[in-house]
């Protein structure tokens, strides 16, 4: 039946748009004929601000890009600067970095799955996910005093060593989490309503997903074995044993399953890190041409020079953040401040596929598809 076309604005204030995103929907009855994404409601000018800040001062801003998983954002930036200035990071620092990043991956996926289920109308998973998230946040708090915006990484290492009692508490968390993931699967995986909302909905083929530049769990859900931890190994990932979780269906359900599997893999990585944690310094002690302060205690602040000038040049460095490929492109002109920083954020590229995904579906399916992509608006608008 032909009906009159209707233009619907969804957002920028809408509980299911995970922030301030706006969809402009051209509807034919209940069917979405065209979906346009309107961006920029959270554009904070991070890239421009980077040009006003020194290299060290920019670290807190990377926290606020993807605020659900701040540690990988931290790491992507310091890794780029380290590559630029050719700084060698001690082994223990790398272990701690990978540890916090994998912990943050679990937190990110908990929030992603929790809010996905919340959007579908099931609030239990949200409650459960945030319960475990709170435990992980307490670990982060022990480590650096912050719950969400850590600023924990430093150029050449990390800010502080693991505190006493951290490892036992982490072990407790891992053991607990193992059981909880089984609980989640029991609650969600075979739920008929959930399957009807997710299976076969918003399917994207591997080729299309690559063309859209999707990365992370969203791409792996389409059957592409693409994980930068494997393909372009960084930090200590070559020494670690983990498998890349891939599903071939390419629908919303596959993307959800990939996240659940990845949480298990992260726990597996965490166990290996605890067992092999080496003893060494946590910050690079090499000199960057300027002699550090002497006689002061052995911390990140002492060994990082007050005036840090990396050589002129440019670098692009990327990591596998929980949401996908996160890259920093830094152009240095040899002064204390970067000449230009460009951030390749996973959420932005994954979001670009939404109009294609939801064409011909209904509005509730748009919400399910959007939730399964897992977008954070701070990362999109920057």
């Amino acid at each position: 039946m032909e009906t009159e076309e209707l233009l619907i604005n969804m957002g920028p204030v809408h509980p299911s748009t995970h922030g301030v995103l706006r969809f402009k929907l051209r509807m034919d009855g209940e069917i979405i004929k065209e979906c346009t994404i309107v961006l920029g409601y959270l554009h904070r000018g991070t890239e421009k601000l980077a040009e006003m800040k020194t290299y060290l001062q920019f670290i807190p801003y990377t926290d606020r890009l993807d605020y659900v998983s701040a540690m990988p954002s931290n790491y992507a930036y310091v890794k780029a600067v380290e590559e630029l200035a050719d700084i060698e990071v001690p082994l223990r620092a790398e272990y701690i970095r990978v540890l916090v990043m994998e912990l943050n991956r679990i937190v990110n996926h908990l929030v992603a799955i929790g809010s996905l289920l919340m959007d579908l109308g099931a609030s239990t998973m949200m409650m459960w996910g945030f319960r475990e998230r709170e435990k992980a946040l307490q670990l982060f708090e022990m480590l650096c005093g912050a719950r969400m915006t850590f600023s924990y990484m430093r150029i050449g290492g990390v800010r502080e060593d693991l505190p006493d009692g951290f490892i036992p508490k982490l072990k407790e968390f891992i053991e607990d989490m193992e059981k909880r993931i089984a609980d989640y699967e029991q609650l969600i995986n075979n739920n008929e309503i959930f399957l009807m909302r997710m299976k076969g909905i918003a399917t994207i083929s591997a080729e299309e997903a690559i063309n859209y530049g999707m990365t992370g769990p969203t791409l792996r859900g389409s059957g592409v074995n693409y994980d930068i931890r494997r393909l372009e190994p960084y930090s200590i990932y070559p020494d670690l044993d983990f498998k890349v979780c891939v599903r071939s269906e390419g629908d919303s359900y596959a993307r959800y399953i990939v996240r659940i599997d990845e949480m298990r893999e992260s726990l597996h990585i965490l166990r290996q890190l605890i067992d092999n944690m080496p003893e060494s310094s946590i910050i690079a002690t090499q000199k960057y041409g300027i002699i550090p302060m002497t006689g002061a205690p052995y911390t990140a602040q002492t060994y990082f020079p007050r005036i840090f000038t990396p050589p002129a040049g440019e670098v692009y460095s990327r990591i596998e953040a929980p949401k996908g490929e996160l890259g920093f492109y830094i152009v240095s002109d040899g002064t204390t401040k970067p000449y230009r920083i460009k951030i390749r954020s996973p959420s932005f590229c994954n979001l670009a596929a939404i109009p294609q995904l939801v064409r011909g579906l209904k509005i509730p399916d748009l919400i399910a598809a959007f939730g399964s992509i897992d977008v954070v608006l701070g990362d999109v608008d920057r």
Binding site: P15, R44, M126, M127, R131, T149
Partner: protein
């Protein structure tokens, strides 16, 4: 019609021994909605009505769901089981501003978002309150130098309570909520309409 006011300076400030049942109740300090005439800032006639109204208002504040940025994730954290904002009767986050009477401005207000935030505030029915959460919506915070960020949400809408932090811890958040409750408790009739504050 304006309510009748009484000059509070003429009321004796010496504390008397509690006589009536209400005074005794007040003296215990347990019932926090019962306030003395002095605290009511001059409004005597409608005290009891005010107490009931204020008690009802502060006991079930319904916030509007308007997360803007990082603080919105902490807002979810506050609402969930561990910190449990339901203790204050606030767990019902309304998706429509028409049904809400409290607005958490949680996150960076960009210049593009500012008109929408203002519209959202204007769509809420009276009486309404605003809590500005986080450095960004208080003053612009870390993005103060940015070309696209509003330097404080109080430039566009009135704010009742400011909570500092980037983002504030849930404990700080709940403290801010308690401060707002204190504020509502002491409001006289029509305070929100600008008469007889």
């Amino acid at each position: 019609m304006d309510p009748v006011t009484i000059d509070t300076t003429k009321i004796s400030t010496i504390k008397k021994k509690p006589q009536t049942a209400l005074e005794k109740l007040e003296d215990t300090g347990l019932i926090h909605t019962v306030l003395s005439a002095k605290d009511r800032k001059g409004l005597i006639l409608l005290t009891t009505v005010d107490q009931i109204f204020n008690w009802a208002r502060l006991s079930s504040l319904w916030p509007v769901t308007s997360g803007l940025a990082c603080c919105a994730i902490e807002m979810m954290g506050v609402a969930m089981a561990h910190h449990d904002i339901a203790r204050f009767g606030m767990e019902i986050f309304r998706a429509s501003p028409r049904q809400a009477d409290l607005m958490f401005v949680a996150g960076t207000v960009t210049k593009r978002m500012a008109p929408r935030v203002k519209q959202l505030y204007e769509m809420m029915p009276e009486p309404k309150w605003v809590i500005s959460v986080g450095s960004c919506s208080n003053t612009g915070g870390p993005y103060h130098e940015s070309y696209s960020v509003l330097k404080g949400v109080d430039l566009i809408i009135p704010v009742d309570v400011y909570i500092p932090g980037c983002p504030p811890r849930p404990e700080a958040w709940l403290y801010g909520v308690i401060q707002l409750r204190e504020k509502i408790k002491n409001e006289g009739y029509g305070a929100k309409w600008g008469i007889n504050k």
